[in-house]
């Protein structure tokens, strides 16, 4: 494109063409954040479940904090390592959703220390917050698998209210597989396909 003066018709053509150019394709690596949080949460949950079963050592529950301790720095590293070439309004909305939910998800366990530890439904609240985030992300990017897994996850969250004892940790881990790991891989496959057909903007 060269520097030249335009006719009105050319101006309208350029504006229309550029609007088409900026239409969102599936972005490469879209599923990476879901995979990060999905794998970290699932692995930590399983370590706690099997660790407690094997040892009966209750301090093992402090390992829940491994999720934010590993997840947050890894997420910041991933975001900094590869700066996005374009930031759309959709990106910004998704960022706001997860920032608000992330802060709430951090406040819940802190607040739970002031309550009776055995009765506070912390896994239910955490699961519900995450599922709301997944469902809303799916709705914003119009990705059906994410919407479906988000809604399934919401049902799982309520199931957690009725499951007692250590089994609720297994339900929590299974939820992350359905909610984040499967859609995360599916998102990455879809973005690779859309890149192949020229629909993908690299991030």
């Amino acid at each position: 494109m060269k520097e030249k003066t335009l006719t009105e018709k050319e101006s309208i053509e350029i504006i229309s063409r550029m609007i088409q150019e900026t239409k969102e394709g599936m972005r490469e690596g879209s599923g990476n954040m879901f995979l990060l949080w999905g794998y970290v949460s699932t692995i930590v949950s399983l370590i706690i479940y099997f660790g407690y079963n094997a040892t009966g050592y209750s301090n093992i529950f402090w390992l829940w904090w491994l999720i934010p301790v590993i997840g947050w720095p890894a997420m910041i590293y991933m975001l900094k390592r590869k700066k996005k070439r374009v930031v759309t309004y959709v990106d910004k909305v998704i960022g706001y959703i997860w920032t608000v939910l992330g802060v709430c998800a951090m406040l819940v366990p802190i607040f739970s220390f002031t309550q009776h530890a055995g009765t506070f439904p912390i896994l239910f609240i955490e699961a519900l917050l995450i599922n709301i985030g997944v469902t809303m992300t799916g709705l914003v990017i119009k990705y059906k698998l994410l919407i479906a897994s988000g809604f399934i996850g919401i049902i799982f969250s309520f199931i957690l209210l009725f499951v007692h004892g250590l089994s609720c940790i297994l339900v929590f881990a299974a939820m992350f597989v359905i909610l984040m790991i499967i859609p995360g891989h599916a998102l990455n496959v879809a973005s690779k396909k859309s890149k192949k057909y020229g629909l993908c903007s690299e991030s």
């Binding site: 494109m1 060269k2 520097e3 009105e8 050319e10 504006i15 590869k82 996005k84």
Partner: protein, 86 residues
Amino acid sequence: MLHSQLRLAVMAILMNVEEADFVYLKEKTQSTAGNLSVQLDKLSEAGYIKVEKSFVGKKTHTACRILPAGRKAFESYVQALKDYIG
């Protein structure tokens, strides 16, 4: 200011996104780096866009975003086109 092919294309893109980097703009407008750089400077001097340079690793990263004055100028330009077409 906007009645130029490349500057208009850049503004049309930046109206549609929060932020776009130099490589993205170059690719979408199919312009040369030199020409795009000159036009970005002109738009920046006019107060229409903000150009931020940073480092990602060892590489420079130039991010552009539209400013309220630029948004207003673009809307006025589109309105003028609408009036002309009738």
